[in-house]
């Protein structure tokens, strides 16, 4: 991973997003300022309709802000054209979605290899060991050459995580990554996130409405009605990491906003 030297992985400055439908303009996001440093582990929470998915799409360069600027690893991505954004997504970001969004026509290993193939333009044998290693890391060695159709929901989500990690992104964006899983599978997915975070210092932004899950992150950003209403660090010791619901967090511990 390139040395970022304290440059935030992500920096949003006065970002707003309007949706225009006929004459009606709906402001979904209002004047959002947000900095995420390299290696942070952030939960983005809020009730449904609060704009958190919209915010995630903006951060993921899948959508354009109406006003404000978005910088990714120090590069201003606001005005990039489609090609530039596509490249940046490929190099700097990893995506994990609620409904895993794998390519059903491919095997687990091929799915994981896709971001590398998109970067080089070729499906290369040389990329296979890396994909295999990641599948081993998520505990799916035996499913390497199995079509993802034949995997359970939890297994598919782990393939998606391996895929999100394969191009060594600086930031992984996860949209309700455990929303579709039972408690056990969800826990396993979350532990994988924490492990990769610890091992590779990848920053994570996890959108969730599961408060318990959020409390197990290091920082919680809460959005209501398109505004950041709270932004705080979570302090938890090693022991309580497994049982995040017991961690008491003071509301006053707000993260300094830039």
């Amino acid at each position: 991973m390139p040395d970022l030297n304290g440059v935030p992985v992500l920096e949003l400055t006065s970002v707003s997003k309007d949706y225009v439908e006929g004459e009606v303009v709906t402001r979904v996001l209002k004047d959002i300022d947000l900095r995420i440093a390299a290696g942070e582990f952030v939960a983005l929470i809020g009730p449904s309709g609060s704009g958190k998915s919209t915010l995630l799409n903006l951060i993921g360069l899948l959508d354009h802000p109406s006003t404000g600027r978005i910088r990714l690893r120090g590069t201003d991505a606001t005005d990039l054209d489609d090609t530039g954004r596509t490249q940046m997504r490929n190099r700097s970001l990893g995506f994990v979605f609620q409904f895993h969004h794998l390519i059903p026509a491919l095997t687990a290993e091929e799915n994981v290899r896709i971001p590398l193939a998109l970067a080089s333009g070729f499906m290369r044998k040389a990329d296979r060991p890396k994909a295999e290693a990641l599948l081993a890391a998520v505990g799916l060695t035996e499913k390497t050459d199995v079509s993802v159709r034949n995997l359970s929901g939890g297994q598919q989500q782990r393939v998606a995580i391996a895929r999100a990690l394969v191009n060594d992104p600086a930031l992984i964006l996860a949209d309700e990554p455990t929303g579709n899983l039972d408690t056990q599978a969800a826990d396993r997915v979350f532990q994988l996130f924490r492990r990769f975070h610890a091992e590779q210092q990848t920053a994570f932004v996890i959108v969730t409405h599961d408060r318990r899950l959020a409390e197990r992150c290091d920082r919680i950003v809460e959005i209501v009605d398109g505004r950041v209403v709270s932004d705080r660090s979570v302090s938890h010791d090693e022991a309580s990491d497994r049982e995040a619901s017991h961690v008491e967090v003071s509301k006053s511990e707000t993260h300094p906003r830039s």
């Binding site: 596509t86 190099r91 390519i103 971001p115």
Partner: protein
């Protein structure tokens, strides 16, 4: 493997039933085109060879005789003249050896045969028949009419005292090889020839009317010593005859008539046959294109979510487009390979199934490699073109929306 091909092939493999269906559809289209064009060109070749078997591709004749006013008008004078077309005498082509060489030099001309011809009677005892007396250079004449190949009795190559006649004329007069036959032109002297051979050129009129003798004998009999009255020309490509005729006229100034001009009704029949087959082929191609396009559009809709995630992972619009263009091309190509085989097999079985009483195929079939190549090329191109709209649609999907609408 380029990622576009990899994804395209996997998508096709994944949509087995759809892929199979559309490839079969494209194959049937290609098969129809191959079969139809084999049949039509077989028919065409047969029609042309039947017509042109006993006809030169281009016939060059002497300049026509024209009537000229005796006196040019003086200044301020108007002469009212009625100019009648004079009867055309059987005339020789002036300076023919030079003109023959000029014609031989024109590109696309494969054989040239000078001949002298005129009306005559073939007389045997009390019976006489009107014939066309043809004085020919046997080798040159044979390269146009292939008489040698169609000899039924005796031998071709009329020597100075021999005549070669058609089978109908021999029957009419009750003569055989070695019998003597008197040839009497409409005007002038007559001469007796021995029958050297009898041919069957497959055309009743020709078999009844042609009497082939040596050039010199005919020149003497027809009072055209040293002269010729026709130059018959064969061209490499029969459909090139019009151009060849034009070029002959422009180079030599002699009137030249192509077989198309001589047989306008045949030419029209061939043309309408060809254009009707084009119309059918066009609609078949259209149906194949629509089929491929609709299957790909459905595939784009079905894979909307996957396209969205591919875009999110860093797949450019152009690359998404190419994935679908490759799919269309692969479908077209597979369809064309399968279809060519099907069409070829169909054409061959068709021609061996429907036989004339004499066991020859009722339908002539022309299966050229070029036809397969053309059908294959067209189908592949159609696949590519049919994929353009679906590919555009796929590439214009908004990734955020595509993912959200899971």
């Amino acid at each position: 493997m380029p990622i576009e091909f990899f994804l395209a092939l996997r998508f096709l493999r994944d949509g087995r039933a759809q892929t199979l269906l559309i490839i079969v559809g494209a194959s049937i289209g290609v098969a129809v085109i191959v079969f139809l064009s084999a049949l039509i060109s077989g028919l065409e070749v047969r029609l042309i060879s039947q017509t042109l078997g006993t006809q030169a591709h281009v016939v060059v004749r002497p300049e026509e005789e024209e009537a000229r006013p005796l006196r040019a008008p003086d200044e301020g004078e108007v002469i009212v003249a009625m100019i009648e077309r004079p009867p055309q005498r059987n005339r020789s082509i002036a300076g023919w050896p030079r003109r023959l060489r000029e014609i031989e030099r024109i590109a696309g001309i494969s054989a040239v045969s000078p001949s002298v011809s005129g009306p005559a009677f073939a007389v045997r005892g009390m019976a006489s028949r009107s014939v066309i007396l043809l004085g020919v250079e046997p080798a040159r004449f044979d390269r146009i009419y292939a008489v040698q190949r169609h000899m039924v009795r005796g031998r071709y190559l009329p020597s100075g005292t021999e005549v070669v006649i058609g089978i109908e004329l021999a029957d009419d007069l009750g003569v055989g090889v070695g019998d003597r036959l008197r040839i009497q032109p409409a005007e002038g002297r007559s001469e007796t020839f021995s029958i050297g051979g009898i041919f069957d050129l497959g055309n009743r009129e020709v078999n009844r009317r042609w009497a082939l003798v040596s050039m010199r004998a005919a020149q003497t009999l027809l009072d055209q010593v040293g002269g010729i009255t026709n130059i018959d020309v064969r061209v490499d490509d029969v459909f090139d005859a019009d151009r060849a005729a034009l070029e002959i006229t422009s180079r030599t100034g002699l009137p030249a008539e192509s077989w198309m001009a001589a047989n306008p009704q045949l030419n029209i029949a061939l043309g309408s046959q060809r254009s009707s087959s084009w119309v059918i082929e066009f609609f078949v191609i259209l149906a194949v294109a629509l089929g491929i396009a609709s299957v790909l559009v459905v595939s784009v809709v079905q894979r909307g979510r996957q396209i969205g995630i591919l875009r999110a992972m860093g797949c450019s619009r152009a690359r998404i487009q190419r994935v679908f263009l490759v799919q269309g091309t692969v479908v077209g190509l597979s369809g064309s390979i399968l279809g060519s085989a099907m069409g070829g097999a169909l054409a061959l079985s068709f021609s061996s199934l429907f036989l004339n009483p004499d066991r020859t195929p009722m339908f002539a079939i022309v299966l050229g490699l070029d036809r397969f190549a053309m059908a294959a090329g067209v189908a592949t191109l159609v696949g590519l073109l049919a994929a353009i709209a679906p590919a555009r649609r796929a590439s214009s999907l908004d990734p955020a929306e595509a993912i959200r609408n899971a």
